[in-house]
């Protein structure tokens, strides 16, 4: 009996320290989430305006021959960028993306993969040999130049190699408890919101093509940056909620074990009293 009591005590202690860790991770995730959210809000005006400009140029001038904006079906390799997290312990965040990625691979047997984030890469490299590039460890220190590197790599694939369509599969941040998986086409560029608006006639300087060349590059840069931020915010949100429920579960478990411990202790004391009482009775008799 004494052994059992000690075991329960040890378990309670260990769960308590686990709870401390999950609680700390929850706090850290909450702080990081707030930072990532701020960054998303800050990048929005810039991204929206670039999007608006591209839409404007495309609609007014009906430019479809430009390679970045072409709407024709061209034969070529399709590629998909899969954005996961570098770390686990964030609920279904990584598994959902990986499941979608596997579905995509099954549906597009020729498509090639680019992995961002360690978790997705580690899993997918065992299942497919079509990963052409991977980026890991970039969520620790997120800055604009990282996304510029990725953007220029993708740009090079699309413009100089035989790639005709590039999509990105990522978790879009909705709220700290909700994130949606989104597959977004980034090459060729499809401006969001295709509604017709009556725009004024603009003067373009130097000319539309040069502007689209440069603007397209900026668009991809900021789009990749936004995707990385969304994904990292969604990751922190997922981690925060899953660590929150882990902390709750630990508290619940501690409660149950404490009850068990007290019962066992009580039983032990009762047993000892009975032993003493019956011993005393034996002497009296």
């Amino acid at each position: 009996m004494a052994n059992n009591i000690r075991d329960i005590k040890i378990r309670i202690e260990s769960i308590k320290s686990t709870r401390q860790i999950t609680n700390a991770m929850k706090m850290v995730a909450a702080a990081k989430l707030r930072k990532a959210q701020d960054k998303i809000i800050n990048v929005r005006p810039y991204a929206n305006h670039i999007n608006e400009m591209i839409k404007r140029i495309k609609q007014k001038n009906r430019i479809t021959q430009h390679p970045l904006l072409s709407e024709e079906e061209i034969k070529g390799i399709h590629a998909i960028v899969i954005v996961t997290a570098d770390r686990g312990l964030c609920g279904s965040f990584n598994t959902n993306i990986i499941r979608k990625a596997i579905e995509y691979i099954a549906a597009n047997p020729k498509a090639e993969l680019i992995c961002i984030g360690k978790k997705g890469y580690d899993y997918l490299k065992k299942n497919t040999d079509r990963i052409i590039k991977n980026y890991t460890g970039l969520f620790n220190e997120m800055n604009f130049s990282v996304s510029k590197d990725i953007a220029s790599y993708l740009m090079d694939l699309f413009l100089n190699e035989n790639y005709s369509k590039i999509e990105v599969l990522y978790n879009e941040f909705k709220s700290s408890i909700q994130h949606n998986i989104i597959a977004k086409q980034i090459f060729p560029i499809l401006p969001e919101d295709q509604s017709e608006t009556n725009y004024l006639d603009f003067i373009y300087e130097p000319d539309e093509k040069t502007i689209i060349d440069v603007l397209g590059k900026k668009y991809i840069n900021v789009e990749i940056w936004r995707i990385l931020l969304e994904s990292s915010a969604a990751e922190q949100g997922a981690r925060m909620t899953s660590m929150d429920s882990a902390t709750d579960n630990a508290t619940e478990l501690i409660k149950q074990l404490t009850l068990q411990y007290n019962r066992a202790r009580q039983a032990g004391i009762t047993k000892e009293i009975i032993e003493i009482a019956s011993g005393a009775e034996a002497i009296n008799n």
Binding site: H49, D201, I203, P206
Partner: protein, 135 residues
């Protein structure tokens, strides 16, 4: 007289949002002025000095690579970075100018000329903005 409503957006924040009488923008084909009731325009901006005029007072900014859109007295500039004259660290700019010049002179094969050139241009603008403080 109507005024220009100017917004300058950087990737990480809105840097300027205010009204001005007129502005001078370093366009890719040369500097040009924008006065109220300007015709609609979309233009590329090169690395250079952006001048903003309000009540005869001049504000100067070093601006790097972007676009300007003018429509109905609404001027929107998007750029990689923009810095006011007093935000610039002259020593740092001077150092980066030296570094860029060295890289360009070194003639090594593995340097990226366009990047070094862009770095040189940026640092020169940052240095010049301090010198020409009169218009």
């Amino acid at each position: 007289m109507s005024k220009l409503n100017l917004t300058v957006i950087q990737p990480d924040k809105i840097k300027i949002s205010s009204e001005y009488d007129h502005i001078i923008v370093p366009g890719s084909e040369g500097d040009f002025g924008i006065f109220p009731d300007h015709t609609p325009l979309i233009t590329q901006i090169r690395t250079g000095i952006l001048m903003l005029f309000r009540n005869k007072e001049l504000e100067k900014y070093a601006i790097h690579d972007g676009f300007v859109t003018v429509e109905n007295n609404l001027v929107i500039i998007i750029c990689d970075t923009i810095e006011a004259a007093d935000e610039i660290d002259t020593d740092r700019a001077e150092n980066s100018r030296k570094r860029a010049e060295q890289r360009l002179k070194s003639n090594a094969k593995d340097i990226d000329f366009r990047r070094a050139e862009a770095a040189l241009k940026r640092s020169l603008v940052r240095i010049n903005i301090q010198k020409k403080n009169k218009f």
